[in-house]
């Protein structure tokens, strides 16, 4: 195992984050705080409890997920896309590193950033909303699992994208709508039956539901199912990345 290579990639990516602190950390924390203020404190105070949880507190897990998903994808996709775009990918391809080590470096860094960001958002939320975490270990498990899974997904997007537009299209056109419709701001039990069934095809529902369960002990879907679906998505991403390295798709001619 080439640990020095994993460390080199990881350090390089983390250094980029700290170089662009405003964009990487401050900006998503600020924008999520605005959600807390507008939907949580201002509008939420006029809404009733959901499953015994105040609306302001109810939306916290969903909002953390919203940031976690978009930042995981964005960090990981940019991390691998930019070397491809600038041409510096030659160095990674010519180095004695295995696909696992490359992925561990890039995805590890992207997931670390997202977890850091998720925890910062949770801390910031505390300034506006009073909330509890019933299962802190499970909360961290869901946070880490989601960050890693969607960083893997971001890595795939970074390999697939051959211009900046494609880099943005999946997070903006697919992930954001799925998150908004995935129960971030409501319980899917509040939907008509048909839409409840349709919502179950949205993978983000399982993430938000599981994450919310870790906070308040209430969930839209069974916790085991949430973990299973997240794990399945992770395996799908891993299999796709395996295929990318086997075939050299868009990285090795």
């Amino acid at each position: 195992m080439n640990f020095y290579a994993i460390r080199a990639i990881y350090k390089f990516e983390m250094a980029r984050t700290f170089r662009t602190l405003m964009q990487s950390i401050a900006s998503p924390v600020l924008s999520t705080s605005l959600y807390f203020i507008v939907f949580g404190t201002a509008i939420g105070s006029r809404m009733g409890d959901i499953d015994g949880v105040s609306y302001a507190a109810f939306i916290i897990p969903g909002l953390v997920m919203l940031s976690l998903l978009s930042e995981s994808i964005s960090n990981a996709s940019f991390g691998i896309f930019f070397p491809k775009f600038s041409g510096t990918i030659y160095e990674v391809l010519s180095a004695p590193v295995s696909p696992f080590e490359i992925v561990a470096g890039y995805v590890g860094a992207a997931a670390s950033k997202s977890i850091l960001l998720g925890l910062l958002i949770l801390l910031t939320a505390r300034l506006f909303v009073d909330y509890t975490i019933l299962h802190p270990i499970w909360m961290l498990v869901f946070l880490a699992l989601t960050a890693v899974t969607f960083s893997l997904f971001g890595f795939i997007i970074g390999i697939w994208a051959d211009d900046f537009q494609k880099l943005q299209v999946i997070p903006l056109m697919v992930i954001t709508p799925l998150t908004f419709l995935g129960g971030a701001f409501y319980s899917i039990n509040m939907l008509p039956d048909l839409w409840q069934t349709i919502s179950l095809f949205n993978p983000v529902v399982y993430l938000v539901s599981g994450f919310r369960w870790a906070f308040y002990g209430v969930a839209d879907v069974n916790i085991g199912l949430s973990l299973g679906m997240t794990g399945l998505f992770m395996l799908t991403c891993l299999a796709t990345i395996g295929w990318i390295f086997r075939t050299g798709y868009r990285i090795r001619s």
Partner: protein, 306 residues
């Protein structure tokens, strides 16, 4: 001297159907400077890319210091450093961090003293904290070399190392390449500057349309393929070349005052024959001047042949 790189029947056909390499076989000797010459699109960069792991071969195999570049890619790649043709770099990284990144990537423990040594050798020490985007083209090229040397490779590929650099820097780089060779590094360079190959290479390979058409010691190549021209300034102008001289490859200039005799470097005894014949024909000679074709002339001749 046994080979450090062994390329066997290497072929590369891209998805588009374009065949960049056509069953190439080539051996690079340990410790030599090998220059690979070829026109644009001949397959030079594809060959280097395959050996370094950036591209995949369609057929054949490559051994780097005895290690198969696919089956034993870790061992093989540890031996190799690459300076690519394009000046690709991380614009916001400092020289120090980008060179250290390369060392780590190639599985080497951090070694500040060694990195300092190569930065000093390449006159980059004063720029170690500068961001890559702040450097001139020549400095960036040096950083690329420092990155390639950061993991102490035994084999260094230089793909067009002096493209776009000024004459002074080019000469500095030639000197640096010689020093590297002295330290035991095998160097394979591709270049458009024939002067560069002529100046530095021990052996020369010529690639054309994906095929190696020649590999030769530079001096042997110059001897074997080098053309010589003897220019004879005549005392009296001639209207035409006398028929008695038809056995010689002669041309007469427009004014009839110069005879030019072209011959291979291996047949220099023909000069004496020609001079004797001129003497017999009582054609007076005012002056003689001989010139030898450069490697560039040889290269142009080789790649012209279809």
């Amino acid at each position: 001297m046994h080979s450090i790189i062994k390329v066997q029947d290497l072929g590369k056909t891209y998805d588009s159907g374009f065949t960049a390499l056509n069953n190439i076989s080539l051996e690079i000797k340990r410790g030599e400077i090998f220059a690979l010459l070829g026109p644009n699109g001949a397959g030079k960069t594809t060959l280097i890319s395959i050996i370094c792991g950036i591209a995949r071969a369609t057929s054949g195999n490559v051994l780097a210091d005895g290690f198969d570049i696919v089956l034993n890619y870790r061992e093989a790649r540890e031996k190799i450093g690459l300076v690519p043709q394009e000046l690709t770099n991380d614009a916001f990284e400092s020289v120090w961090s980008t060179v250290n990144f390369s060392r780590g990537l190639f599985g080497k423990a951090p070694d500040k003293a060694y990195i300092e040594k190569i930065l000093r050798q390449l006159s980059l020490w004063d720029k170690r904290n500068a961001k890559m985007r702040e450097l001139s083209g020549g400095m960036k090229r040096r950083v690329m070399i420092a990155k390639a040397l950061s993991h102490e490779p035994d084999i260094l590929f230089l793909d067009e190392p002096t493209a776009g650099v000024d004459v002074e820097l080019r000469r500095d780089m030639w000197e640096m390449v010689r020093e590297l060779r002295e330290s035991g590094v095998t160097i394979i360079l591709t270049t458009h500057y024939i002067e560069e190959a002529e100046e530095m290479a021990d052996r020369i390979g010529v690639i054309r349309k994906g095929e190696i058409i020649l590999v030769e010691e530079k001096s042997a190549l110059m001897d074997k393929l080098g053309k010589k021209t003897l220019s004879i300034h005549l005392q009296c102008n001639l209207n035409a070349i006398p028929s008695e001289l038809s056995a010689f490859n002669l041309t007469l200039d427009q004014e009839g005052s110069y005879l030019h005799f072209s011959y291979d470097s291996t047949e220099s005894d023909r000069v004496a024959e020609l001079l004797a014949q001129l003497n017999t024909l009582e054609i007076g000679i005012k002056d003689l001047n001989s010139s030898e074709s450069s490697l560039e002339d040889i290269f142009v001749d080789l790649v012209k042949e279809a």
